[in-house]
């Protein structure tokens, strides 16, 4: 469903709505995630973290934000 003047994105499997011309950098800032501890995938493509302020989100974009957790 498209909310008026908003675009729908999926972040880590969860739906979110953001305003058009919303950058990937704005998303990371909004989620308060430290950039140096994560990696980002946009529609299954790894994104260069240096370029995220120039990448604007599109309707139906799928974003994965990952970090390190404990593992064997």
């Amino acid at each position: 469903m498209k909310i008026k003047n908003k675009i729908k994105i999926t972040v880590n499997g969860k739906q979110m709505h953001v305003i058009p011309k919303f950058s990937l950098n704005s998303l990371i800032t909004k989620l308060k995630i430290p950039l140096n501890k994560i990696a980002i995938e946009l529609n299954k493509k790894i994104i260069d973290k240096k370029k995220i302020s120039k990448i604007y989100l599109q309707n139906e974009d799928k974003i994965e934000i990952v970090h390190f957790i404990g593992g064997g």
């Binding site: 969860k14 995630i33 990952v66 390190f68 957790i69 593992g71 064997g72």
Partner: protein, 257 residues
Amino acid sequence: MIDKKFKIANRSFKSRLIVGTGKYKSFKECAKAIKSSGADIVTVAVRRVNISDKNKTRLMDYIDPKKITYLPNTAGCFNAEDAIRTLRLAREIGGWKLVKLEVLGDKKNLFPEMIETLRSTELLTKEGFKVMVYCNDDPLMAKRLENVGAVAIMPLAAPIGSGLGIQNKVNIQIIRKQTKLPLIIDAGLGQASDASIAMELGCDGVLVNTAIAKAKNPIQMAEAMKYAVISGRKSFLSGRINPNILGSASTPNKGII
């Protein structure tokens, strides 16, 4: 006798014990156990950030990747594509090239899927990764992994988390004889003596997670593992006596009254 350095892909490490960071009660406990283990490499996994809990603490807040080498793994991957995707993401987090490949074939026994493992090792190596490979204890497969560029062979002792100890010492010894690559026992150890046995078989190192994390006292078990690895290594280098079914008195008979 001075031991040669423990080297993986031309990097030297002080400790021959690698520790996993999973299954601990807290990051704090995990960090303490790592410290008491003396390990300078820890394995870590790549997972989604919890976006609904912004204040959640992170592994990197407790274990400083500048002081301890993070070894990203592909735990939970069942095919080459997932493993490669995971390790590319791991590399992106902080430039890690030294990785632990683990492609599983079965959810129950967690045995490695060796065909996919072999394929992934080759693809990742071509991409510039230095791949340490979790594998079964099959000497032929170990050879094939070496041929496609693995930087370390990591055969299981027993199923992951089983605590059974080394089930097939003969195969481990055969792999030891055939390869000059670092040979690291990964998975299945249960107690400190298991780590000593691995080292006495001539392995270059061991990787332990569950046996430490799920011990009643993980911090003390981490220390026990540290000494077990040192002890087993020294024992191996010292050259054991030949076993004999007959007794040989330690005290001389000369001068007996």
